[in-house]
Symmetry: C2
Subunit: 445 residues, 2 copies
């Protein structure tokens, strides 16, 4: 009997829990799910003798250590900054660990200790980061094996609403943590390399530096740049590559409209507003506009943000959010970002029947036989229902499969890893296909 | 005999040291000057029997404590973040302290301890903050004594080059720490109140939200907003004021041109560039512009920053800096801000014969006898030479006078203070007049 401990049972764990339970009997697993709230877990699962619900307080160190000590592997679905304490306990008690989050410098620093303890810690094995690594590294390795030299690599992922349910002027709804969407782009200056030239984009320009991408059967998207693409040159063993770019997909028009919130300062989460309780959507926007006793908020907004009076398509996006209406905010001591999130949640929340969609797209340009070739690889996954959303499937399934591989000894190298080796990506990609997560590869030239 | 300890002998301490020495004999003072570098101090001072040079390492806690223990008062002219350790030692050994820097939350938190120990700690007694408090609070108190109710208070200060030496298209030269000029506006979202409305400006808009100000005999200036003006409502006991605005003065056109560096991300000091050693001014600017193999850096710059092709006056500012020339940067592992500073120092450094100028301007609007009245108060000080610059005089003299007042028992209230009480501002303003630091007050309506 192997004991799996899952810490964190939030919105994106539905498909992960189903996967673990579906595979439990055959593999002789039992599963402890530890959290304070189990609303996102099918209650009937807890009737199974090998599934246990643990009321868990993440600040209770004693309880955390006890739980980790008595398990064989720990899956942490906690917010990213909380993984590190779990990782230290895992090393202390020689337990393996899986997370879907970006590897932090503190986590990376545990490499030697993890190795010495014989502990495997796999990070970045959700969708992005996660499936992007698996699917991109597969093509990269193929190109190199074929004798090609990779020159350019661009990769984009987006969590969007499925086209059949896309019925608002932003062509966007929240399909995961709304807070992360509001704060997107605030993780430091964007860094990448394009055609041999280093490029840096500050937050206030990120949403104005987009590129357009067409995906067969799904139409047109726009991509904005993510964080630090440069560090993936080393990670992917592509130190001499000319272009290295990681981005996020939205439908065209979203980014330019979103940029207005950035320019205004409405996405700032670093201070609370003096009078947030008494604000309306209109007076909230006016906080960021120059004072003028006679001009309307609408005119000041358009003038300040350089929006032409006849740019109807853009202006309608803001109007549709009721941004210029005196709707009460009703939040005390709130940051601008918290108020903006509240404004957006009124309109961007998925309806009961809405389905989400994950879109991923990679572009590879490589030199072979003295000619440049271009290859694309793309994946589109749609949600099934409110539990098995595209986001829950694409985040949870690779985490589940990785957990199985570690328990079955298929992943055996101790240390702090991300999933970029063939022995890891090949079986995971193969099993993901059984769940409809399939890449479409295409040689362009 | 009273023992004065001055820690920090940098560029702006010339007039302070002269003041202390000029007043030493009559007041029975001796003076220890502690630093690692004494280049800014007239070497002949150290021939005086009551002046001592102490080779001082700020990281040497034992030495710091010994020096503080053996003094009666400590003047800290260290960088702002270093005052706190000095303050804690001053409280422990019951010594008074004077600094010209903004009071930090950590410093403010020492209030009760300082009071209990009978220690006086005066902060914000340079020029801005400093002389602005003294001169503004004087007018505010007068207006209230006359039965007026203050509605609006705006205050602006600028360190500029004197008009006779103003000979470049930016109408600006570095007259104090260049690094602070490059990083200006990065201390958090600007917060103020205008006509009863709260206003917030993010960094990327600070230099586009200026106002114009005319000062008799000195022409036109533009002012951009500083940090958090809101907190001065409480400090000045003006909780119900409609407008509270603190700003910095430049000559018109400077801010719009500076904004380009902000928009590009060229003022970012939070990361180092991958290839800084091999950059030229031109390739540095290109780091922040979209990739395009055929367009020039000039055209991309103008298009990206929305500069019209015939906006010659603006474009010439950049050309005059050689921004588009392949001048080697020659800085290894540099941040964008460090490189920008180097570019600017080639052109913005004061020549030997150049004089600087400090300009301060306050506007007060108050209700009295059911009518609104407006009063202005302004001060212009020019530098005498490279030691007694306007900056050195206006920062150093109030620090020196305050030190004298504490030693003579004229300031006697223990605690952590800023200089806003009549018993403090009146004698300091009066003595500053002897040094040509004179406010011109004018009733407008």
């Amino acid at each position: 009997m192997k004991h799996i401990l899952l810490i964190g049972a939030g919105r994106s764990t539905g498909s992960l829990v189903k996967y673990l339970i579906d595979n439990a009997k055959e593999n002789s697993w039992d599963l402890k799910i530890a959290d304070r709230n189990f609303d996102f877990i099918n209650a009937s699962y807890f009737d199974l003798e090998y599934v246990n619900k643990i009321e868990f307080d993440v600040t209770n160190e004693t309880q955390r250590k006890e739980l980790i000590k008595s398990s064989d592997i720990v899956i942490s679905m906690l917010p990213a900054h909380m993984h590190i304490d779990v990782a230290k306990d895992c090393i202390a008690y020689q337990k393996h660990m899986v997370t879907a989050s970006y590897i932090s410098p503190e986590m990376k620093a545990l490499e030697a200790e993890a190795k010495a303890a014989g502990v495997i810690i796999i990070n970045e094995i959700g969708v992005d980061p996660g499936i992007d690594h698996l699917s991109a590294k597969k093509v990269i390795d193929e190109i190199i094996e074929e004798g090609g030299e990779l020159k350019d690599f661009e990769t984009f992922t987006g969590g969007l609403v499925a086209p059949e349910h896309d019925n608002n002027p932003w062509n966007y709804k929240f399909t995961w943590n709304p807070r992360n969407v509001v704060l997107a782009g605030q993780g430091g200056t964007v860094k990448f390399k394009q055609e041999g030239t280093y490029k840096y984009i500050p937050y206030n320009k990120v949403f104005r530096r987009t590129e357009l991408i067409d995906i067969d059967g799904y139409g047109r998207f726009e991509g904005y740049a993510n964080r630090d693409s440069l560090k993936y040159r080393k990670v992917y063993d592509l130190e001499n590559i000319s272009t290295m770019f990681r981005g996020t997909l939205r439908r065209p028009g979203y980014c330019r409209a979103w940029d207005a919130f950035v320019e205004l300062g409405a996405t700032d989460d670093s201070y609370t507003l003096a009078n947030s309780k008494n604000l309306t959507f209109r007076s909230f926007i006016n906080l960021f506009l120059p004072y003028n006793p006679s001009d309307s908020v609408e005119l000041k907004f358009m003038h300040y943000l350089n929006i032409a009076h006849d740019d109807i398509e853009l202006f309608e996006k803001y109007e549709w959010l009721d941004l210029f209406k005196d709707v009460p905010v009703e939040l005390d001591n709130a940051t601008p970002a918290q108020i903006l999130q509240k404004i957006l949640m009124r309109k961007w929340t998925l309806a009961e029947e809405d389905k989400d969609m994950i879109v991923m797209w990679h572009k590879f340009i490589y030199l072979k036989d003295n000619k440049l070739h271009e290859r694309h690889s793309s994946m589109v996954v749609k949600g099934e229902d409110q539990t098995h959303t595209a986001m829950a499937k694409t985040v949870g399934l690779p985490v589940g499969i990785t957990t199985k591989m570690i328990l079955n000894g298929k992943i055996a190298e101790p240390g702090v890893h991300i999933p970029i080796k063939k022995a890891i990506y090949e079986p995971i990609l193969s099993e993901l296909e059984d769940y409809g997560i399939i890449f479409n590869e295409k040689n362009i030239t």
